[in-house]
Amino acid sequence: MRKLTIALAAALATIASAPAALAQVEVDIEGGISAPLPIAVPAMPTPQVTSTPAGSTDALGRQLADIVATDLRNSGLFKASGPDQLGAVTMGQVQAPDYAAWSGAQALVQGYVRAEGNGTLTIGCYLYDVFARTELTRQGFNVSPGEWRRAAHKCADAIYTRLSGEGPYFDSRIVYVSETGPKGRRIKRLAIMDQDGANHRFLTNGQSIVLTPRFAPNQQSIVYMSYVNDRPALYIYDLGTAKQRLLVQNASLTFAPRFSPDGRYVLFSMAQAGNTDVYRVAAAGGSPQRLTNSPGIDTGGSYSPDGSRIVFESDRSGGQQLYVMNADGSNQQRISFGGGRYGTPVWSPRGDLIAFTRQGGGAFRIGIMSPSGSGEKLLSDAWGDEGPSWSPNGRVLTYFRSAQGSGRAELWSVDLTGTNSRRIPTPIDGSDPSWGPIRP
């Protein structure tokens, strides 16, 4: 359990003058003693109401504040009040808060929206400590009208980062498999959306089964599995050109792909004559390099963030268990020893944890453990939770939950406390989520 205070430099700067106030403005990321931090996010005023392709600037100011409040609330660390609960702020107050009016909150987010002559929008974002009556951070964003929501996510990220000491994760996307149709013949399409479900769009048309999409670190492409032409194989989808290419030529069944942290390689599984092993291939294509060679099923490989190690699953000991090996396949060590089976391991981008699906007692649950296998903790409790994927900052997981009987699946997220779990909205059913990196 780590207690995380506001960023150290600021803490040192203010600790002498306002120790009592400092003690108020902090959030605890891994769930311990502190309650969610009360934070106010009033509508962002505009110096001049202007019509833009994204709507008028005064309406945008309200929507931006609402997105910031929703992001912060969904993190579980904040008790956020939005524009619907709060009074208006004048432009003059944005940089000179009326602290006395916000005494019900411990932190205050203010900002403004301004339409620029070149057609872009400027969004200012300010965070204040209400008790210490100080500014904690400020950020400005200049965006095209089509990307106005990103400014709100960036603002929320700045606040979250400043108050928790953790990396950002709100300005990010999720690629997943959108599902519809009967259980025995599901139609599956690749889809992409912002982490909050906005800006949803489909990438494939559903003619072929698609499974397990995973983002490239540069977020320009997605590696996934498709049954196109009845040949289940891995493809790389280029988000810029909407074109896809076969990753491994002339192969038998290839599946379970994940990019290396530098994006140059794809770790994947290949089954040949009934035996599955973990391989690596250059993302640009070429000859695969075999990394495991047990007679059992070795699959589900995921690199550590420094690229030096790989976690994977194998049933070489009987049931599925988790193993860690060096990136060249040497020194394979089992790390999971609990009851039941462990699959779908994925290494945190922070490097400190491995998330997995644990099967036992008639249920699939999402769990975490250290790379050495210690400190196992289960974060979800349902009939069919599977396939975790880390948020860019390694503090939240998304996964999919299948319903007993109907098999209908939906996307969920849970933070490392295991107490803040919620459904991620999708237009229809969804599975196999992959959380992409923070956007530049």
Binding site: G184, A256, T276, G405
Partner: protein
């Protein structure tokens, strides 16, 4: 003259094989629910009344004990009942040496997605290896794993799961 005939048969076989490959349907193979041929008609005609063509998919469905074998939980071994089914398939395939088949491997929903793709591949290959051991050329057999993507029985209970752990032989035509 005898030698000439043999050559001709082989050539015909190759042509037929090539033709089969080209005619392979672009859509997914029909679900097992649609391909189980024990429709009760029992004769040599399809439900539509037309004659069953020897060596065809309909002929296969009517002639073999079943197109499907089943497996135990997490298992991929061919048990005695599966052997009987595959023996009947091998006998039919021996009669029609130009026919190619694909074997679909399937799993129940109690495995994770990627593991089940590997397990389905194991099951399809176990069936394929058995047919090959019974003298069916492995060049006539392809395999495909569907993991848990195409359950036959839609429930979430032991009975449904047992039906879904299967390998299905599908005649390509």
């Amino acid at each position: 003259m005898t030698k000439f005939s043999t050559t001709l048969i082989v050539a015909t076989a190759l042509l037929a094989t090539a033709g089969c490959a080209k005619r392979r349907p672009e859509v997914l193979p029909p679900g097992p629910g649609q391909t189980t041929g024990t429709d009760g008609s029992g004769g040599t005609t399809t439900p539509g009344g037309s004659a069953v063509v020897p060596g065809s998919r309909a002929d296969f469905q009517q002639s073999v004990a079943s197109d499907t074998i089943n497996f135990g939980l997490d298992q991929f071994d061919i048990d005695s009942s599966a052997r009987a089914v595959l023996d009947s398939q091998a006998q039919w395939l021996a009669r029609y040496p130009n026919v190619r088949v694909t074997i679909e491997g399937h799993c129940d929903e109690r495995g994770t997605r990627e593991y089940n793709l590997a397990l389905g591949d194991r099951r399809a290959n176990a069936a394929a290896s058995y047919l090959a051991a019974r003298g069916i050329s492995s060049s006539r057999i392809t395999t495909i794993s569907y993991g848990k993507e195409r359950p036959l029985s839609l429930g979430s209970d032991e009975g449904a799961w047992a039906q879904n752990r299967r390998a299905v032989t599908v005649v390509l035509q």
